[in-house]
C-alpha cells in the first residue's frame, strides 16, 4: 500500500493516506506531542440500510430494523471464545463501538501499545462469529438499551421530529430497532449483512495520534485478512421521499419537569455538488438566526420563553439533511410561532451583512477547535469520508463561501412550509 501525503501549514495539520488492494481506505493523521492515540475502523453502513441488493445478486434483501446496531454488539464475540475487551484491557486501551444512521464504527484510544491495539482492532472486526446462543444472549442487553431510550426525553423529541419531517426515509426509524424487530434477528441474517457491508471496499480506517505513518501502515498491511474487493456497488434501496413534510406537529407525554421541543426545517437541496460548502453556509445561517447574539435569541430569552438549553444544529448526509433547534420552554408553540415570524421577517427584510462577517469568523474558530481532540477529529474525518467529502478540504470550502451564497441558502432552506415542531409534555400530576 502506497501512502500519499498532504499538508496544510495554515492550520498545522498533515495527513497520510492510501488505498489497500482489498479496497480499504486508510488515513493516518500524525499529531505531534499528543499523549493519546485513537483509531477508528468503520463501515459505510448504518441503521438506514435495511433494504439492499448484494453485489452479484439480482434480488433485493430485506432485513429487520436495528440489525446494523445488533451486528455491532455481536462483533465483540470471537470464534475462539476470547473476549475482545480483555485483549484491549490487557494492552491498556479503552475500546468501544457505535452505530449511527449511516455508519458503524469500532474504535479504541490508548496512551501506550498503539500498534498492538491496532492489530487487535483489525483482527476482531474481521472475525465475525455468530451462534444462536450468543445472538439470543444479546436480546436482553439490547432490549434494555431500547428501554433506556424509551425513557429519554431528548431521544424521543428527536425521533418524533424526524417522523414529522420524513414520510418514507428510514432515517425516521430508531437506530436500535424495536423489541419486536430485534426478535427476528438471526445468525444467518447477521452473516448476510456482514458479508455485504463489511467487505473492506466498503470500509475505512483512520488513525490519529503521535504515530509514525509507515509503522502504522505496516500494522494495517499485516492485519488485513481478505483482499477481494467488490467489483460492483452495494445497491442501497431508499424509498422515494417527497419534498413536503409528513406532518408539522407531534407531541408525546413523558416524565419531564417542563415541556421540551425540537423544531426545524427539512433540507430538500440534497443532491447539491459541494456538501462541505453547503454545510458551512447552513451553519453560518444557524448562528445568524438562532445564535446567542441574534435578535431572535434575545427576544425569546428575555421573554422567558427559552433558557440556556436552546441550541441549533445541522445534520447532513448526501440523501437527507435537516436543521433542528431544541430547548425547554413553558410554551413551545409560541417559540415555534416566533421563529416562523422571524424567518418571514428576514425573508422580506434580508440578512444583515455585518452579522455575516462576524459569524463567519466564528466558523473558523469552530473548525480550528475541531482539530483539537484526536477522537473528535478522526471520527469527523471518517464520517465525512463516507459522504464523499474530504475534511482536509475545509479551508478551500470556507474561503469560497460568500454572503451571496448564504442569502441563496437561506431562501432555499428556511421555508416555513417545510418546518415541523415536536413537543414532549410533562405528565400531569394530581
Amino acid at each position: 500500500m502506497e501512502l500519499k501525503h498532504k499538508k496544510n501549514s495554515a492550520v498545522g495539520e498533515e495527513i497520510f493516506f492510501g488505498k489497500h488492494p482489498s479496497g480499504l481506505d486508510v488515513f493516518i493523521i500524525p499529531k505531534k506531542g499528543y499523549s493519546k492515540s485513537y483509531a477508528i475502523f468503520g463501515t459505510n453502513y448504518g441503521s438506514v440500510d435495511s433494504d439492499f441488493i448484494v453485489p452479484g445478486e439480482k434480488d433485493e434483501t430485506h432485513v429487520p430494523d436495528g440489525i446494523a446496531h445488533y451486528l455491532e454488539h455481536k462483533m465483540f464475540d470471537q470464534p475462539d471464545n476470547s473476549n475482545v475487551f480483555d485483549k484491549f484491557s490487557r494492552l491498556g486501551a479503552n475500546a468501544n463501538a457505535f452505530t449511527s444512521f449511516n455508519m458503524t464504527a469500532y474504535l479504541f484510544s490508548a496512551t501506550q501499545n498503539v500498534k498492538e491495539n491496532l492489530a487487535v482492532l483489525l483482527d476482531y472486526v474481521q472475525s465475525p462469529y455468530f451462534t444462536d446462543e450468543t445472538v439470543e444472549k444479546e436480546r436482553g442487553i439490547i432490549g434494555q438499551e431500547i428501554r433506556m431510550y424509551d425513557d429519554s426525553d431528548s431521544w424521543k423529541v428527536f425521533f418524533n421530529f424526524l417522523n414529522c419531517l420524513y414520510k418514507n426515509h428510514p432515517v425516521k426509524k430508531e437506530i436500535a430497532g424495536t423489541i419486536d424487530s430485534i426478535s427476528r434477528i438471526t445468525p444467518e441474517l447477521l452473516y448476510r449483512c456482514y458479508g455485504t457491508f463489511y467487505n473492506l471496499s466498503n470500509m475505512a480506517l483512520v488513525v490519529a495520534g503521535d504515530v509514525e505513518p509507515e509503522e502504522i501502515a505496516g500494522v494495517i498491511e499485516a492485519g488485513i485478512k481478505k483482499t477481494e474487493p467488490f467489483t460492483e456497488e452495494i445497491r442501497r434501496i431508499y424509498p422515494e421521499e417527497p419534498d413536503e413534510t409528513a406532518s408539522n406537529y407531534a407531541e408525546q407525554t413523558m416524565s419531564v419537569a417542563m415541556p421540551m421541543f425540537m423544531l426545524g426545517f427539512k433540507d430538500t437541496d440534497t443532491d447539491c455538488g459541494d456538501l462541505l460548502k453547503k454545510s458551512i453556509e447552513v451553519q453560518i445561517l444557524l448562528k445568524m438566526l438562532f445564535g446567542k447574539s441574534s435578535r431572535l435569541y434575545k427576544q425569546l430569552y428575555d421573554g422567558g420563553l427559552i433558557n440556556a438549553t436552546f441550541a441549533a444544529e445541522y445534520t447532513m448526509q448526501p440523501d437527507y439533511a435537516f436543521t433542528s433547534v431544541e430547548g425547554q420552554s413553558g410554551d413551545p408553540k409560541l417559540v415555534y410561532d416566533t421563529v416562523i415570524k422571524e424567518i418571514n421577517r428576514v425573508r422580506s427584510e434580508g440578512l444583515c451583512e455585518e452579522d455575516y462577517d462576524r459569524v463567519k469568523k466564528v466558523l473558523w474558530g469552530t473548525y480550528i477547535r475541531s482539530l483539537n481532540d484526536v477522537e473528535d477529529m478522526a471520527s469527523e474525518f471518517l464520517r465525512m469520508h463516507f459522504m464523499g467529502v474530504d475534511y482536509f478540504d475545509y479551508c478551500r470550502a470556507y474561503k469560497s463561501v460568500t454572503f451571496g451564497d448564504v442569502k441563496k441558502r437561506f431562501e432555499n432552506h428556511f421555508v416555513p412550509e417545510r418546518s415541523a415542531l415536536s413537543v414532549i409534555k410533562p405528565v400531569e400530576r394530581e
Partner: protein
C-alpha cells in the same frame, strides 16, 4: 490579588487556550441557591460589555470564543465556575491577542458587574431565577442521573453533601436583586479563586491583566472548604420512588470511609475499577454480559465522601436479581477472587485515563481542581505511579471497608 491563584499549564500540541475560573464556596443551606444563580447573573453584563448581546458579539469577534457560567460541587465545596475557550492567537487572521482579550472579559464579568439602584438589574435577576428553577426541576429528566442523585441525597441526609449545588426552588424564590448584590460583594473578595489557563499564553501578561482588573479590591482571608467523610450509621437504608418510566434505575451506595488524602485512596480507585468501572469490570461482565440484565451496570467513586455508588438500568422485576448479583460481586472481591487480568486491566485502565488528561484542557482543569479540593496537589505522573503500585492484597483490604449503606430504586407507577 491575594486570594487569586493563576495556574498556567503550557499545552503547545493543542490549538486552543482554555481558561477555567473556580470560585470556592462552602456548600450550605443559606448560600447554595445564591451561588447557583450568581454566576449566571454575572454572565449577563459587565463594564466591558454592558449586556448579553454585547458579550456575545465580543466573543464572536474572538473567532467564536466560548464563555460558560456554571456551578458544581466537589464534596462540600460549591464551586461557581466560568469555563472559557478560544483558539490560540497564532490561528487568528491578524494574530490578535485572543487569550488576553478573553481573560479581560471574564475578569470584567467577575469584578465589574452591571448594577442599578445599588443592586443587580432586577429584570436580569428575575430571568436567571426562572432559569435556575428550571435547572433544579429538570434534574428528573435524565433518570440515570436522577436516581444516583436521589441515592446520594438519601445516603447523606443531614450532611451538607445532601444539599444540591443547584439550590432549591424556595431558596431561589427568596433571592432579590439587592440582597444578591450584597452577597456578591462579600463573596467575590472572600473566596479562594483559582484561575487555570491551559494552552499557549504569556503568563506574565495574564498576571498583569488580573492585577489591572482587580486593582483596589480588598480581599479577605479565605480557605478552601473541607468535606467530612460519610460515616455509615444504623441499618441499611432502602428507598423506592415511583415515576412514569419504562425502565427501572437501581442505585446502590457503599461507604468505604477512606479520605482523599489517605494512601488507600489509590487502592480504592483500583478496587472500584475491578468492581464496576470499565468493560473489564465484574459488574459489566456479570450483570450485563453473563446475566443480560442491563445495558449499563457500573460503579464510581465520590472521592471527597469516601463513597462508592453503583448504577444500573434494569426491568422492574429484575430488581432482586441485579441487587443480589451486585452484592455477590463485591463479596467476590472481598474474598480475594480477583484474576490477574482483572487486576492488570483495572490498573492500566486508570493509568491510561490519567495519561489522557494531558491532552484535554477541560479534564486537566478538573484534575487540578480535584487535587486542590482534596488538599493533595499530586501531579499526573505521581498518580500513575501510585496506581501502578497498588497490589491485589491492597484491593482486597480496602474492599472489606466497603459497607452497604443505601439502596435506591426508581420504578414504574404501577409497580
Amino acid at each position: 490579588m491575594e486570594n487569586i491563584n493563576l495556574i498556567y499549564v503550557s499545552l503547545e500540541q493543542i490549538k486552543t487556550t482554555t481558561i477555567g475560573v473556580y470560585i470556592h464556596r462552602e456548600l450550605n443551606e443559606a448560600d447554595a441557591s445564591k451561588n447557583a444563580v450568581l454566576p449566571y447573573v454575572l454572565r449577563r453584563g459587565c463594564k466591558l460589555c454592558p449586556d448579553s448581546g454585547a458579550i456575545e458579539k465580543y466573543l464572536e469577534n474572538l473567532y467564536g470564543a466560548q464563555l460558560h457560567a456554571g456551578v458544581v460541587n466537589m464534596g462540600d465545596d460549591q464551586i461557581m465556575r466560568f469555563e472559557a475557550q478560544t483558539i490560540q492567537d497564532k490561528y487568528a487572521a491578524g494574530g490578535e491577542p485572543l487569550t488576553e482579550d478573553l481573560l479581560r472579559l471574564i475578569l470584567s464579568v467577575m469584578f465589574e458587574p452591571v448594577t442599578e439602584d445599588g443592586g443587580f438589574k432586577k429584570s436580569t435577576v428575575e430571568i436567571e431565577k426562572k432559569n435556575a428553577k428550571e435547572r433544579i426541576a429538570s434534574v428528573m429528566n435524565d433518570k440515570r442521573v436522577y436516581a444516583m442523585q436521589r441515592c446520594m441525597e438519601e445516603m447523606c441526609a443531614g450532611e451538607s453533601f445532601a444539599i444540591s449545588c443547584r439550590g432549591t426552588i424556595d431558596g431561589v424564590d427568596a433571592i432579590d436583586a439587592a440582597d444578591l448584590y450584597d452577597y456578591y460583594k462579600s463573596a467575590i473578595v472572600g473566596s479562594v479563586i483559582d484561575i487555570y489557563v491551559c494552552g499557549s499564553a504569556d503568563e506574565e501578561r495574564l498576571r498583569a491583566v488580573i492585577e489591572e482588573k482587580t486593582f483596589g479590591a480588598e480581599f479577605k482571608p479565605a480557605k478552601i472548604p473541607a468535606t467530612p467523610l460519610h460515616k455509615k450509621s444504623g441499618d441499611v437504608k432502602r428507598v423506592t420512588d415511583r415515576m412514569e418510566v419504562t425502565q427501572g434505575k437501581l442505585s446502590i451506595g457503599f461507604s468505604a470511609d477512606i479520605a482523599p488524602q489517605s494512601k488507600d485512596m489509590f487502592a480504592l480507585m483500583v478496587m472500584n475499577s475491578v468492581f464496576g468501572a470499565g468493560a473489564h469490570s465484574k459488574l459489566f461482565n456479570n450483570v450485563r454480559e453473563k446475566l443480560s440484565l442491563a445495558y449499563y451496570a457500573s460503579s464510581g467513586t465520590i472521592k471527597q465522601k469516601g463513597i462508592i455508588v453503583v448504577n444500573a438500568g434494569i426491568e422492574f422485576e429484575n430488581f432482586q436479581k441485579a441487587y443480589d448479583e451486585t452484592l455477590a460481586q463485591l463479596e467476590c472481591i472481598q474474598n480475594g477472587e480477583i484474576s490477574e487480568l482483572e487486576y492488570k486491566s483495572a490498573v492500566s485502565f486508570l493509568v491510561n485515563a490519567y495519561e489522557a488528561i494531558k491532552d484535554s484542557p477541560e479534564q486537566l482543569h478538573h484534575f487540578l481542581a480535584d487535587q486542590r479540593v482534596s488538599g493533595t496537589n499530586y501531579d499526573i505522573d505521581y498518580c500513575k505511579e501510585k496506581i501502578s503500585a497498588v497490589t491485589i492484597d491492597d484491593i482486597v483490604r480496602v474492599s472489606k471497608r466497603a459497607e452497604l449503606d443505601t439502596v435506591y430504586f426508581l420504578t414504574g407507577e404501577g409497580e
